[in-house]
């Protein structure tokens, strides 16, 4: 098999999918990209068995089809160092010797047989569901929720984003049991009720590749795998098995205390005050009273303390509640609104953070669990 490609175009395609390759792969062949040439179309696949990403590109070719696995590390390194130029890649299918012929020279190495590469799972048509959404919608859904996913080996369901499809909306949920994000899109509806949990890794890969794409993405899934078909990329991943906790039950309803505060002001205040918090617990306290919020922190061990006052609109009882400052600033960073509403009930119950300016098609809710302030 022999074809000619632009070096930079090949590199950009390889880089987009290369993160699917695990640094500790289970099979040696998984350290490779699978090159599959059919006619003039070259499709390239990277996989770690859990996640598989495929991209395709046009090439100049006239020397027959073929399938071969090329070592990823070497290929990426040489392509990064080459200036833009057409490259001829010539693979001898019998000896698996690869020649890359550039303007000034020739590099060669040995490939692995394409047949050794694991087969990408196909969809189980009987149990499959399908939905088409704009790429921008999927991107926002993932970006809004990915930061809240957990890193808990014991509870794998928490290490992913829950996608819930219903005739009313599409819901993205993520939680590490200290914070929770629920992002609903009313403009993406399906005629069925279904859900799956997308693991962290493919979610991160999608987050990287989606900004390059425009148009629609087709999401197909069965009970085992999900397939994301983008115009230039295709991602297949194994879903997390198990049931997501009933998140709606833990969202407190009817919170009597409400504060409206400028998001950026609060985030900046928090970033300053948290320097004076205990490094291990990271506790900051919010004291809410009439139209004023006092953000304070202290570290008794090192005799540090700090506080700042902040204007806010507050309706409710005077109260003090403690949060881990990194969690709170994560939430403030990921909510998109000038002003935010913080809803509270009591210092041992979750606080709800909502955007003040709402889009018609969006329903965004973030929740943060407080820290116990010993009385």
């Amino acid at each position: 098999m022999k074809f000619v490609v632009s070096s930079s175009e090949l590199l950009s395609h390889l880089q987009a999918i290369s993160r699917a390759i695990s640094s500790k792969s289970q099979l040696p062949v998984l350290d490779c990209f699978l090159f599959d040439l059919k006619g003039t179309t070259l499709s390239i696949t990277a996989s770690d068995l859990e996640v598989t990403m495929t991209t395709s590109m046009e090439t100049d070719s006239n020397d027959g089809d073929g399938k071969v696995a090329l070592p990823s590390k070497m290929l990426l390194e040489i392509l990064k160092k080459l200036p833009e130029q057409p490259l001829t890649i010539d693979v001898s299918m019998s000896s698996l010797v690869v020649d890359i012929i550039s303007e000034k020279g020739k590099y060669n190495f040995v490939a692995q047989a394409g047949e050794d590469y694991p087969v990408i799972p196909g969809i189980d048509e009987d149990k499959a569901s399908k939905l088409q959404v704009p790429t921008s919608l999927l991107l926002t859904g993932i970006t809004k929720t990915l930061f809240a996913t957990a890193d808990d080996e014991l509870r794998p369901v928490m290490n992913g984003i829950l996608f819930e499809f219903s005739p009313n909306n599409l819901t993205f949920v993520a939680s590490d049991s200290h914070k929770l994000v629920r992002y609903q899109r009313l403009d993406a509806r399906s005629d069925f009720e279904a859900s799956f949990i997308l693991p962290k890794k493919p979610a991160g890969l999608l987050k990287n590749v989606l900004p390059r794409e425009s148009g629609d993405v087709v999401i197909e899934f069965d009970h085992k795998n999900a397939f994301f078909n983008l115009p230039n990329y295709k991602l297949v991943c194994r879903l997390v098995e198990g049931n997501y906790p009933t998140y709606n039950a833990v969202i407190p309803q009817g919170n009597p205390n409400k504060a409206i505060v400028d998001r950026v002001d609060l985030a900046n205040t928090l970033s300053r005050v948290s320097i004076f918090s205990n490094q291990a617990s990271n506790l900051v306290k919010l004291h809410l009273s009439n139209d004023e919020m006092v953000v304070s922190a202290q570290d008794i061990d090192f005799s540090l303390s700090g506080f700042e006052k902040l204007k806010c609109q507050y309706e409710g009882d005077e109260m003090e509640i403690g949060f881990k400052s990194v969690f709170l600033s994560d939430i403030l960073e990921n909510i998109s609104s000038g002003d935010i509403i913080i809803e509270l009930s009591d210092p041992s119950r979750a606080a709800i953070v909502l955007p003040f300016d709402k889009n018609e098609d969006e329903d965004e809710l973030m929740l943060i669990m407080p820290m116990m302030i010993n009385a």
Binding site: S177, P245, N278, D346, S348, M369, M371
Partner: protein, 391 residues
């Protein structure tokens, strides 16, 4: 390891104050009929050890840390007292308060020992005079006998206190130029932190007096005893640069108990773990600490001792810690042999508050802990607890 500082002389003024037979003295304050009688304090069961004994009892060969059963054989006529730790800490605190009032830099080394750094005070009072008056004040105000040694560093002061207790004066001043002559004739067993094993080893090398030890080349000490050897050699030469530190960070909290009778009753062991873990978790919360590592220790009847530990997310909640402790016990108790001792310990402590969990911690539970802690703070730590922990 042998640097310039190894040979640096000290010119500080450090006092070591030690309450004489502290536990016995407290008991005698409360019951004067104990005066002049041999008194032994410690766990009363056969498994107990002697925690403190009067000088009268010591003449029979009784000493602290001796098994109670042996003490009974040596001195059957002694008065045996269970001991009241709360009262002892109360009296200890009174002594600390008197010292804190007069001395800026002090260290409470144990329930009956204090180190005082008087460096610089000689310009105003004379350190010996000051210490003497402080000792008088403590004796007058608390009624507890106390001895002190004053010298250039903690080690020499502590050895001096030991010597002071033998004399009627109960105080001893070892000036900087008299440190070597003072130490030289003493037995090496007087050096603090020199245990019976090291003592035997050094004796077998022909070292009996501190003078001999101070003449051993430090390189040789390092070869024989490692880093510890250099420390010992330094102490023998009257060199100890450790400062008097006012505050020590607690690195762990834990508790262990030798049972009245050895047992294989798993239910009993589990109940014990519940009770102790609950009590320790309460202590954690009182100190505003969280733990990230829990250790369970088991000692079988044949003294075969095992521990197992586990890292956990920072917490101070009973239900999490009890669950982990029970699981560790389950994994640890493998031999079908009688259990003599169990222990639970929390390490990797940080100060801070508990981060609540969305799916596990309900507000009801959090409020329950707060309420239980309030009850315990008001009515004592045994006032309320899990039913499994009562028997």
């Amino acid at each position: 390891m042998i640097s310039e500082t190894t040979f640096q002389p000290d010119n500080r003024q450090i006092v070591h104050m030690d309450l004489d037979t502290f536990f016995v003295s407290v008991e005698r304050l409360q019951n004067s009929s104990l005066n002049g009688k041999p008194v032994i304090i410690g766990g009363l069961s056969d498994r107990g050890v002697v925690a403190g004994c009067s000088y009268e009892a010591r003449t029979f060969g009784v000493h602290s840390a001796m098994p109670m059963r042996m003490a009974r054989q040596l001195c059957p006529q002694a008065v045996y007292i269970r001991g009241d730790m709360d009262a002892y800490s109360r009296y200890s605190r009174v002594v600390t308060d008197i010292i804190a009032e007069k001395v800026p830099v002090y260290e409470k080394a144990s329930i009956d020992e204090h180190y005082l750094d008087l460096t610089g005070m000689d310009r105003y009072f004379g350190c010996y005079k000051f210490s003497h008056e402080l000792r008088q004040t403590i004796v007058r105000e608390t009624g507890l006998p106390i001895s002190f040694g004053l010298s250039v560093n903690k080690t020499v002061s502590k050895i001096a206190t030991g010597e002071a207790k033998r004399g009627p004066q109960r105080e001893l001043y070892v000036e900087a130029n008299r440190v070597r002559p003072f130490l030289n004739p003493l037995s090496i067993s007087r050096i603090p932190m020199l245990g019976p094993k090291t003592f035997r080893l050094l004796r077998s090398m022909g070292i009996e007096k501190i003078e001999t030890l101070s003449l051993v080349p430090p390189e040789m000490m390092e070869r024989v005893l490692g880093k510890n050897g250099i420390d010992l050699w330094r102490k023998a030469n009257g060199i100890d640069l450790t400062p008097v530190e006012r505050y020590h960070e607690r690195k762990s909290i834990g508790s262990e108990q030798t049972f009245e009778t050895d047992t294989t009753d798993m239910r009993f062991l589990n109940e014990w773990v519940v009770r102790i873990t609950e009590r320790l978790a309460f202590e954690l919360r009182c100190r505003h600490k969280l733990t990230a590592c829990i250790t369970v220790k088991i000692r079988y009847a044949d003294f075969d001792t095992h521990t197992i530990q586990k890292r956990i997310p920072y917490t101070s909640f009973d239900h999490v810690l009890i669950r982990e402790a029970k699981e560790l016990l389950q994994r640890l108790y493998k031999r079908r042999v009688l259990v003599r001792l169990l222990g639970v310990r929390f390490t990797h402590l940080v100060s801070g508050s508990q981060q609540l969990n969305l799916f596990e911690d309900t507000p009801e539970q959090v409020n329950l802990y707060l309420a239980m802690d309030r009850i315990r703070k008001r009515f004592g730590k045994e006032a309320v607890g899990r039913a499994a922990g009562f028997y």
